[in-house]
């Protein structure tokens, strides 16, 4: 089912002001994701699919499509491996309708 849904197409409808080079969310220690986290729930829970599993078991994060919901930070409380801030003022997603 998931394969049929192209979330990029959905995100393409949104307006963003990207803060280039200053991601507001970061993975603190990539080794923790790779070696200590079996579920890697962020890779399917994130509603903007910002987290991706790589072939080698690593998790990568690209925040450009982020909807600023906070889910990734909350589901990662055991390892607390998500450094989460809001984007700088005026940056990030800018909802037209909300």
């Amino acid at each position: 089912m998931t394969a049929l849904v192209n979330v990029e197409e959905k995100l393409f409808q949104n307006r963003y002001k990207i803060d280039a080079g200053r991601p507001h969310i970061q993975i603190k220690d990539p080794d923790l994701c790779k070696n200590r986290c079996r579920a890697q729930a962020c890779t399917y829970v994130c509603p903007a699919a910002c987290y991706k599993t790589e072939g080698n078991g690593a998790v990568t994060l690209i925040t450009d499509g982020c909807l600023e919901c906070g889910s990734c930070r909350i589901i990662c409380q055991d390892l607390a491996n998500v450094q989460w801030e809001y984007p700088r003022g005026g940056h990030g997603v800018l909802f037209k309708f909300g």
Partner: protein, 434 residues
Amino acid sequence: MKERFDAIVVGAGPSGNAAAYTMARAGLKVLQIERGESPGSKNVQGAILYSDALERIIPDFRDDAPLERHIIEQRMWVLDDRSFVGTHFRSDDYNKPPFNRYTIIRAQFDRWFSQKVRDAGAMLICETTVEHLLMDGGRVVGVHCDRLGGDVMADVVVMADGVNSTLARKAGFHPEIPAQNVALAVKEILFLPEETIQSRFNVGEEEGVVIEMIGKITEGLVGTGFLYTNKDSLTIGVGCILDDFKNNPQRTAPYAMLERMKRHPSIAPLIEGGDMKEYCAHLIPEGGFFAVPRVHGDGWLIVGDSGGFVNAAHREGSNLAMTTGRLAAETIIEARKEGWPMTAATLKGYKDRIDDSFVMKDLHKYRHLPAVLEKSPQFFSTYPELVNRAAQTMFTVDGGDKASKEREIRSSFRASRSLMGLMTDAYRLWRATR
């Protein structure tokens, strides 16, 4: 910024706007700080506006507020994969002004509300993220922003910074939100001609319908779906407890769940041809009564989603947000008038006010519901399936006699859930909602 304020309000959603407006009208020197490029640009809601809470703040809001449709019909659907059993409540009484509730589009509504706040005399600064509170010992004395030269001081800070409650969390006023206590919801807005919406939903101009749904659409996760009619658009969304999304062995992404829901044979014809213009996601604090943190202290108050003020059972949030914002403002106004310092003891007046209002009374009434639902996924999978199968059995005319059909339905319930299980579920649900 060298200027000092009577109060700083962080956030320009319904709770922050209610607080800033009420204080500015009373003559307080108010600074409101919003991280979006304009108020509303970071805010997401279904969205239903309940008139009463806003009327108590701006009695004549209907004169110029951007309202979509007033609701004349409420539908509740329990869905199986290919069917639904539903109740509809429609009344012409809901067509008599003043209307009880409306669909709204938050980006437009919040901008309108914010203009009222500025007209009342508050200073608004946008595109500015508050990074943390400024403390003097255990007392909040201001905020630190990523602009304005950093620090701004005030007698009291009202945190209306939304569900993530970033400021209070960083200050250590309360811990991180457990994943069991928030729902993750995703939604889309789909544009359609007004006349198409009116004929599909059997309503006239400016009349609207809301559909709330439970059942197989959430794949057994604790959650609900919704479909709301705006003027020339529909809002469709689905939300489930975040912990359920995380622990779902199917690893279903929220957007995949939404996409599947849109293809349900009872839903697809209603939204067909809709032009999707935006996709949003948002957390909803659904922990209820026991999840509300301490919401006042020396120099600070928490209002709206940031304090977990959502009545999940009734899908109410923005009215609790506006009410807590207003009550926080009234507490501060009274303290100033009496010359009391903005200490925890003074600001406890806010807690007393919300305890005495529908906000905490309603949360208290449903205090056991989150725990019951967490332990009862059958309400979201087994029962919807059984109810739909029962309806299909009774309504299908196939030469079988009705008494045998009834026996078949009864045994299908018992096969899926023991008699004891059925009775326990009924009792627990009754206790949690009585």
